[in-house]
């Protein structure tokens, strides 16, 4: 303890550690009525960290070559001690990341935390969402199984619907006319380097904005649910009389992470096959498309939308319009009210949108 105190004093004199701790941890107060949904961001940080760690570990044995990729993944699953655990962590984790990200986005939507002055936070979160979808798409190809190969063929084909530049765009994405070794090379580079760096950078921005603007107050449990910010000058939203981040809210975050781990480990040890259908265990064959090849669950609604519209370009445009609407929501929904039960139009649109998305996903699965 004496040594610890000496080190602490040494650092304190040079860096003002006590001041930092007070500002960022013990003195950083959050609203008293904060709820469990607010910790989904921390859960996502935990999931992303686990994905990076398991991904780097997979890199030790994975070979990003079309002739060796499938064999290397097989070796990880069957030969390398606990390789199956690392690989399944990565597979299950990627799907859970998308699910928790959607829940986080829904909680922000329903609690109106995207509204002013937090438009930038919503936009940065939307960019992270797009990058997570991209990293999931690129990672899907790497095992080079029948599922990987043909799901990527279907996904990259959709860009061909864009007029004039569509076919060039498809070739650019694939590194050739068809999915092949060059596709694996560029998807690998995107998946392990480019997109993770992008995600880290935007998460940094997201957290900076969160701290700079201040955590929003949940619209429940308070008599005044209106946003008091008047759009006149910068005003950091602080919460005097709130709960300290450290140790109170940190422990709450850790509880949420523990709850997440329960579900994660249950799926990993007892039901990981829901993410690995039989086509995931057959090496890629460019001359044989499996019957009923489909993308992962989070792309099923996009896949089904493209099938509904007779013109693929219109299908793409409809989806683009939907995503654009979602991205610009803080600039469209400018009302000050944040309580979901006091925003009937928002509730109708949001619940309708979620039901539509789920319906398209189920339809896509069975079609």
């Amino acid at each position: 303890m004496f040594l610890f105190r000496k080190i602490h004093n040494w650092l304190n004199v040079r860096l003002g550690v006590d001041d930092l701790v007070e500002k960022q941890l013990t003195g950083y107060l959050l609203p008293a009525n904060i709820n469990r949904w607010y910790s989904l961001g921390s859960v996502l940080l935990f999931i992303f960290t686990l994905q990076v760690i398991s991904g780097v570990l997979l890199l030790v044995y994975y070979v990003p070559d079309a002739d060796k990729a499938f064999t290397s993944v097989n070796a990880i699953m069957n030969t390398v001690p606990y390789g199956w655990l690392i690989r399944l962590c990565h597979v299950v984790g990627s799907n859970m990341m998308v699910l928790v990200l959607i829940l986080h986005m829904l909680s922000v939507l329903f609690m109106g935390s995207y509204k002013r002055p937090r438009e930038l936070n919503w936009l940065s979160g939307f960019v992270i969402f797009t990058l997570v979808m991209a990293i999931s798409l690129t990672g899907y190809l790497l095992p080079w199984s029948q599922l990987s190969f043909w799901a990527t063929t279907v996904a990259t084909n959709s860009a061909g619907a864009i007029p004039f530049v569509g076919s060039y765009l498809v070739e650019f994405l694939r590194g050739g006319a068809l999915v092949g070794p060059y596709t694996l090379g560029r998807f690998f580079a995107l998946h392990v380097a480019v997109i993770p760096i992008g995600i880290v950078a935007i998460i940094g921005l997201h957290l900076f904005l969160l701290e700079r603007i201040g955590v929003s107050t949940p619209p429940f449990g308070l008599s005044d649910t209106k946003n008091p910010w008047k759009d006149d000058r910068f005003r950091h939203e602080d919460h005097p009389g709130g709960i300290p981040f450290f140790p109170n809210y940190l422990l709450s975050d850790m509880t949420s992470v523990a709850i997440y781990l329960v579900f994660f480990l249950l799926i990993l040890f007892f039901a990981s096959n829901i993410f690995l259908p039989k086509d995931a265990f057959i090496p890629a064959n460019p001359f044989q498309t499996p019957a009923h090849i489909k993308p992962e669950w989070y792309f099923l609604s996009n896949y089904q939308t493209l099938k509904i519209f007779p013109n693929e370009f219109i299908g793409l445009m409809v989806q683009g319009a939907g995503m654009t609407f979602l991205a610009l929501l803080p600039f469209i929904d400018r009302g000050p009210e944040r309580h979901p039960l006091k925003r009937p139009l928002f509730m109708v649109c949001a619940v309708g949108g979620i039901l539509l998305w789920i319906g398209l996903m189920i339809w896509g699965h069975y079609s």
Partner: protein
């Protein structure tokens, strides 16, 4: 129970759970990263003696290390580790001189693995082998 001793007890329990969880996570990680004992190796290597001409050497891998089978002119077949005993470079068979030369620091070994010159402190490690007709099995 006093609040402070209750807090201490709960913190200790949490610490024990945390350490156990960390151990449960680190053990598979350690096993995953540990090199496999038989990674890329064969315990025994077999050659046909007819594959090797007189005065020639054949390099192969044995227990993860570079090894060499040599049939010197007028001499008997021998198998050695091809790793120089000086600093670990791979010795090269000099057919014209009938000896091994290490390219790193000029260490020289005879066809029987003995040190002829240069900095190597020890002869080349001999590998056991069995000749069965025209088949030689090393290891």
């Amino acid at each position: 129970m006093e609040i402070s001793s209750r807090r201490k007890f709960l913190t200790t329990c949490l610490g024990v759970i945390g350490v156990t969880g960390l151990g449960a996570a680190l053990y598979p990680l350690f096993r995953y990263l540990s090199p496999s004992k038989d990674a890329g190796t064969k315990q025994k290597v077999t050659f046909q003696l007819t594959e090797l001409a007189e005065g020639e050497a054949r390099y192969f891998q044995m227990d993860g290390k570079a090894s060499v089978l040599v049939k010197p002119k007028g001499g008997t077949v021998a198998a050695f580790s091809a790793v120089c005993t000086h600093l670990g470079c791979i010795v090269q068979w000099q057919k014209s001189q009938g000896q091994f030369l290490c390219p790193c620091h000029g260490g020289q070994f005879s066809a029987q693995g003995a040190v002829l010159g240069g900095p190597p402190p020890k002869p080349l490690e001999k590998l056991p082998f069995v000749v069965n007709g025209t088949t030689i099995t090393i290891g």
